[in-house]
Symmetry: C2
DNA sequence: GTTAGAGGCTAAATCGATTAAGCAGCCACA
DNA sequence: TGTGGCTGCTTAATCGATTTAGCCTCTAAC
């Protein structure tokens, strides 16, 4: 019932476990094991379907071939898709993935990091929560292979892979302006998350570049902790409060979804009464009528880069910092088509 | 740099590693270790922040406190949500989760099972693919703790946790009939997946019960391997081919999504020109205008039961089989409101 | 005074792999 | 004859915990 061990092979081949280990680790040449013995061992291993015990190996080598993936919410479209590719890519290098969701809570993140350490994962992919600086700094100090995703901690020089939030938001704003919208509001979350700040900065910068006004009152921050109902009611109040509002930029996908719900409840027609653009793509945005224009993140590229950077760290002692910023793509749909409808109305 | 081991504690406490192990495993009383020594060890362990090395422990005990989760697609709304709760629930028992997606491919599933075995997971949660009977049977034979989800293999008596597919589909069909629809089509996938068959059976049974016709030509099977574009084009062709069609039941969420896209492209108004109902809920269905009526799976309950059944298996030798079938809920939205709109039209 | 039993702890084997160190045997060359 | 070097393997330590078997010491009982 128990698995085949290296000893079983050794016994059957009439050699020592050491020899078996050498051969199976491809060190036959290096360790001067004869071809004869080599072949015999390989054959036996295949015949017995030998699977090395990862625990024993890990105990000895200190490597578990496991990486920890900490996301904000594995049930969220963006993170779930990243997780999927991460798993596939990691598998190519022989790594398995342990995952966990933080819900953006520092306490949960700390708990996850602790458990992952305890399980001796070889490397970490982390979506940091607020106030996680100390823990990240500790990992960095311990020289643990690690790469941050979705956001980074400005005070700590680490590897990270992210979308270009500034550029994505800049493009979104510029696009709205080009499409003829003048009174544009932004709905974001009250959070110190750096990526949200950068999206806001990108937006502001575009407005400034094009000499469009962007007064304080056009910005609404929804608490991260707000329930769906609270968020929708706040968004509705905010929209009603701005006469002549003709476009809204939502800085993340779930805000966009809440926004759609809010506008629906207010009886405003997206694309006609008001333009909508959101960060992150979503099935919902694609299939909504009208389709919702959005700033899409290159999910595949993000996941692939995450693994690449991590594998790079894992395979060498070269502690060069890799900071990858990938371009966002503006996906144009019908939610921002004032000029088109104007044309049609003529 | 290395972690604190049991030896370090032993040395500092002036006792043997054995004693430390006994105390830390709560066997102080049983092994007659004095309170004095016990306390000293516990204090030291806390002070040094001792974390037992799971590899060493696992090697000795044969338990890794890890479970393997095999889903069809971790990026899919249903599986991602189940995965999230599974992770949370497992954590409560001190277990971590390794995951992988099969894409419903037997080859990938076999690969995943192999890797999980290799990593000595203690138990499995498996969404079986077609033709996985042999592998599942092997696991069963090896008395590995295991529970299937989403679907089961009729030939093999195993634990499973599923939604009541028959009842869910039955309710959907009955509801459509009650709402006054007569010409109802079904779009499903060409797959031997038992849950899809049961959904179809439930639907047929309801039609039969209510003496409604359900001829063969009202059923469309889309190949599981079809790309989105292929699926949409097939669904469009199917719909165009049936004059007087007034409602469609999609047997799974992504077919529902493709269906919405197809109808959109055909210029048919959901809820007005045609009713739509889908298995599985989704943000998209909730926020679509009009909202899409669906048969929702009790995701929380499913995940909780999965862990409960698995923990049950893990904690005892009692090999009683647990087969949990949970009720589906019909979530009524505006996509099936013919009678209402008829009322309004009067 | 000897023995039984309990109390309090430890030595050493073990899980299954990796790996540093080393040991024969053989040949070559001085 | 002796030394060095190569070939082809093995011995034994090691990773960090668990666990079996057992060693003292002391008390109590006969």
């Amino acid at each position: 019932m128990k698995g085949i061990s290296i000893k079983d092979i050794a016994k059957q081949a009439g050699v020592s476990p050491t020899t078996v280990s050498f051969v199976l680790n491809g060190k036959a040449k290096e360790k001067r094991i004869s071809d004869q013995v080599s072949k015999k061992i390989l054959k036996l291993a295949a015949k017995l379907k030998y699977k090395p015990n990862q625990l024993a190996r890990g105990l000895r080598t200190g490597k578990t071939k496991t990486i920890g993936l900490i996301v904000e919410d594995i049930a969220n479209h963006f993170f779930a898709n990243v997780a999927k590719i991460v798993e596939e890519e990691a598998d190519k290098f022989g790594y398995k993935v342990l995952y966990g969701s933080t819900e953006d809570s520092q306490v949960k993140a700390k708990g996850l990091l602790e458990v992952l350490e305890y399980r001796q994962v070889d490397g970490y992919i982390i979506t940091p929560t607020p106030n996680l600086d100390k823990e990240i700094e500790q990992l960095r100090h311990a020289r643990k292979p690690m790469v941050l995703m979705d956001r980074y901690l400005p005070q700590i020089p680490t590897n990270y892979v992210m979308v270009n939030n500034f550029q994505g938001a800049f493009d979104a704003a510029e696009y709205l302006l080009k499409m003829g919208y003048g009174k544009i509001a932004v709905v974001t979350i009250t959070s110190e998350q750096i990526q949200m700040k950068e999206r806001l900065n990108g937006f502001s910068a575009a407005m400034k570049t094009h000499k469009a006004p962007f007064p304080r009152k056009m910005l609404k921050k929804i608490p991260f902790t707000a329930t769906k109902e609270e968020a929708v009611s706040q968004i509705k109040a905010f929209i009603k409060d701005i006469p002549g509002l003709d476009a809204i930029f939502f800085t993340t996908n779930y805000l966009g979804i809440y926004g759609i719900e809010s506008l629906k409840e207010l009886g405003l027609k997206i694309g006609k009464d008001i333009a909508v653009i959101s960060f992150d793509d979503h099935d919902l945005f694609r299939l909504h009528t009208p389709g919702i224009t959005c700033v899409a993140q290159p999910i595949h590229d993000i996941a692939r880069n995450l693994i690449q950077v991590l594998m790079n760290e894992l395979s060498q002692n070269n502690h060069q910092i890799n900071q990858v910023v990938l371009p966002a793509t503006l996906v144009k749909r019908e939610s921002c088509t004032k000029s088109v409808s104007l044309t049609l109305e003529k």
